[in-house]
Symmetry: C2
Subunit: 213 residues, 2 copies
């Protein structure tokens, strides 16, 4: 089994990303941006829990931390799943197309692989979007000294959502199943609706707390 | 000498980011988001150079690649510089404050450390902003199969700029040198002005090419 990209060093990961090698790519980078966002929410929770000054927020921060750590694990895994989905799609495109039976098998394999390659960024966008509701409690009642880190989490989660949805879009263009495409487009619309406004609201919340003390 | 954070694995970096340890933090995460953006521009250049179909764009892509690789190296280093700047600031805060001379030395050391801690995210924002002008040629004339990766680069560069500027802001609040603060605020204003519009324009450019073929 090959080494997982997430088990290489940060420097080696960036080298691989920059290279012309088929993986890792933008889908994985989107997932890692989301994982960094979740990690920053966890960090602020960890810098709040156990501090006398923030004792009242302790239970809330523990609940947020539990959620942000689940999302971080999910997004880190999705960076790796993106590699697997890409490899499967590449393999499907390489199937023989000599006989009519070959061609039919290859076509179905490509469509199936495209669905998997769509699911990974869709799950990335969902998980990154689930970080945003964790930001207000942490920005408002978490350790004030780390509130800028909540702001970074907001920006990275936003970039992860939009980046992941671009990767969904590129796969939808080659998918032939109209019902599936319609379902996914509906979810993309739900994930996109009001997103920019929500990000600006969260950013304002962060700036307010940053200037508060 | 301690291991650099960028020489740990991606998984270990995310664990350290999520922990309550003083470093790495949001400033470093911003720099790494910028490094991923630069890496994706390099990737699309590498997927274009040497391809018969894109022979006309070859010289232009080589020039962009040279620039994106310089910015990637710079942003990767800035993730590490952020750790050093934070450590220096922590050390300054821990200086003795017994005598009046101690207090004066400590105050100056804190101010000097705050300037360094401001410079790192300011350079991060500058370098991430320098990625944006590289996006149009790559989105328009780079390998069309990888145009979504240019879109991801745009989102990550944008998040890196805004995140880095948040880290500039938090340091400016404790800085006492009005001339320096004014100079930095002017540069922050220049980096922010028209940014959202530019990101939307680049995103539209990517979507146009994505739907083109």
């Amino acid at each position: 089994m090959e080494q997982r990209t997430i088990d290489t060093t940060v420097v080696a990961y960036l080298d691989a990303l920059a290279s012309g090698a088929p993986t890792p790519g933008g889908g994985g980078a989107a997932a890692l941006a989301g994982a960094m966002a979740a990690a920053l929410i966890s960090m602020v929770c960890n810098l709040t829990i156990g501090k006398q000054r923030y004792a009242e927020a302790e239970d809330e921060m523990r609940a947020v931390l539990d959620r942000s750590e689940t999302l971080r694990a999910e997004l880190t895994q999705l960076a790796e799943d993106d590699v697997a989905a890409f490899n499967r799609l590449s393999a499907a495109y390489k199937l023989p197309r000599v006989t009519e039976a070959d061609i039919a098998i290859r076509r179905d394999a490509i469509q199936e692989a495209l669905k998997r390659a769509t699911e990974v960024p869709l799950r990335t966008a969902r998980a990154a979007a689930a970080i945003l509701p964790l930001c207000p409690p942490v920005a408002e009642r978490g350790n004030q000294a780390a509130v800028s880190d909540v702001g970074v989490a907001v920006q990275l989660a936003h970039a992860a959502i939009r980046s992941a949805l671009l990767n969904v879009e590129i796969n939808l263009r080659t998918l032939n199943d109209p019902l599936y495409v319609r379902q996914v487009r509906n979810e993309v619309a739900r994930l996109t609706e009001g997103l920019a406004t929500e990000v600006e609201r969260l950013d304002a919340l962060v700036m307010q707390r940053l200037r508060a003390e």
